[in-house]
Amino acid sequence: MSTLSLAVRDSSTMLRRNLLHARRYPSLTLNLLLTPIMLLLLFVYIFGDTLGAGLGGGRAEYIAYLVPGLLLMTIGSTVIGTAVSVSTDMTEGIIARFRTMAIHRGSVLVGHVIGSVLQSVASVVLVGAVGVAIGFRSTDATVLDWLAAFGLLVLFALALTWIAVGMGLISPSAEAASNNAMPLILLPLLSSAFVPVDKMPGWFQPIAEYQPFTPAIETLRGLLLGTEIGHNGWLAVAWCVGLAILGYFWATAKFNNDPK
């Protein structure tokens, strides 16, 4: 069997294993959905009027502003689950067994990554459905815009997943993994997800500006709502590709080390 077909076959076996885990124990994934959905409802129904007024509109305008950021935050939240499940998986004896088998080495991680991206997409669809239910509508987005938005979400999920897999691999326990992966859900709070960067205090603006969530959120907003994307599109793609490559090399290097 060629290396590529071996890689594809073993990775899909590993993916099936991870999806089986997710299906048997859905509570972890569902719990992680609570944070973005709660924040969505909280910000829309409690702060929505005020924040909407700050944007020169009302609650309806704020829903439109908020949803793209929360969709990306949903990804950050989902991949925390990935970090946790990778770190618990590594303590399972079955991983040692995999290491002694003539399978494609990377397939264990690739299975986790693809599983996590699929889970992220499903979570985004769920949170998006809540958004639509409370009144979110995309304005004049073409099919191409939708495709691009979908592509951005997948790419973003891929990038964060590889980072989360690396975090899972360096964490000795599930608790450590969820602590290490915490930035992935904190970063969107420090981004343009809830308020525009130019409405933040001057000293804070660079923090919001120079991080992956803000350009990704601005790009998604542009695609779904027709706002100005500008340089954010390229920035978002660059962040995603950079993080994905970094995470990939970091995670595979960690995985190939002697097990502890």
Binding site: M1, R9, D10, T13, R16, R17, L20, H21, R24, Y25, E92, G93, I94, A96, R97, F98, R99, T100, M101, A102, I103, D258, P259
Partner: protein, 314 residues
């Protein structure tokens, strides 16, 4: 000369300052059973992990070949030849026993039908049919162990590593496991096992190596190892002090234990030597209340070898 399934020269491994394996040579001919015996912490698991590609050998190690492949140069070829059941459970607890088996069949790239056939056969053989649809995390320790070994056999490996395969099994399961190991060997499989049970090594192994403190302190067949220990003895016990005294007089070479009224006579346990003792007792007109023949077993060998080392260390 037969081919070696496993050949390692000067196997070394250290963790920081701590030397775990200090130049261990291993040669296991194809189709034989090799047992590595040693007290806790001797380095047995470390040796298995290195030979099964899980850990890298220490830098000063000599060459290692498993299944005819160089372990350092072509670990993937080694992996294709071996099956490993580690000391600690290597099953996926979140999925069922059958799904674990399916996972192995898929990773060995078996066709669906062939996988099904092998899985059904192994579940049957390891008495797991009833539990097959339950999550492996709900299995008892013995069931997990059996699933573990069944998973190892899915790919029909030619060389099998078993790190303490029967620890935690009840006597019946242990005997079943021995039977399975014998069947594997009859089919030409090479088995490398570690065990704490000397009886197990005695039952199964063609060659036994005693590992202590990272070094092999003795190696040979069970019979050869037993010969390292000076002979066995016959023990006579009496309840009547008068009988004890006259027996002691008739057997002047015997070691006396006046407290328990027993005599110990060096003997290889053969019929001839036993008869000589009995004849002496008969002519003295005494009858022992209890007669036991003690031939040296591997426990004696083990204790003698590992204790000797401890003494020289002190």
């Amino acid at each position: 000369m037969t081919n070696l399934a496993i050949a390692a020269e000067g196997l070394r491994k250290s963790y920081g300052e701590k030397v775990v394996l200090d130049g261990v040579d291993i040669a296991v001919p194809e189709g034989t059973v090799f047992a590595l015996l040693g007290p806790n912490g001797a380095g047995k698991t470390t040796a298995v992990k290195i030979l099964s590609t899980l850990l890298s050998a220490g830098p000063a190690s000599g060459g290692i070949r498993v299944g005819g492949h160089d372990l350092a140069a072509d670990p993937q070829a080694v992996r294709a030849a071996i099956g490993v059941t580690g000391q600690f459970s290597a099953v996926d607890g979140l999925i069922t026993g059958e799904e674990n088996m399916r996972l192995m069949a898929d990773l060995h790239h078996l066709s669906h039908g062939e996988g099904q056939r092998i899985i059904a056969e192994l579940l049957e053989r390891f008495d797991l049919v009833e539990a097959a649809a339950k999550p492996a995390s709900t299995y008892s320790g013995g069931m997990k162990r059996r699933l573990d070994i069944a998973m190892t056999l899915v790919g029909s490996p030619r060389i099998i590593f078993l790190d303490e395969p029967t620890t935690g099994l009840d006597p019946r399961s242990r005997h079943n496991m021995w039977q399975i190991i014998r069947e594997l060997v009859a089919g030409g499989v090479t088995v490398f096992l570690t065990t704490q049970y000397l009886e197990e090594a005695d039952e199964l192994a063609d060659r036994i190596a005693v590992l202590n403190d990272g070094k092999i302190v003795a190696e040979g067949t069970a019979a050869e190892l037993k010969r390292l220990i000076p002979g066995g003895h016959v023990r006579l016990r009496f309840t009547d002090p008068a009988g004890y005294q006259s027996a002691a007089a008739a057997l002047p070479d015997a070691a006396r234990d006046d407290e328990s009224l027993s005599l110990q006579i060096l003997s290889d346990g053969s019929q001839r030597e036993l008869r000589a003792v009995l004849d002496l007792l008969d002519s003295a007109g005494v009858e022992a209340d209890e007669l036991t023949v003690h031939t040296p077993d591997l426990d004696d060998v083990f204790f003698a070898l590992t204790a000797k080392i401890e003494e020289t260390v002190r």
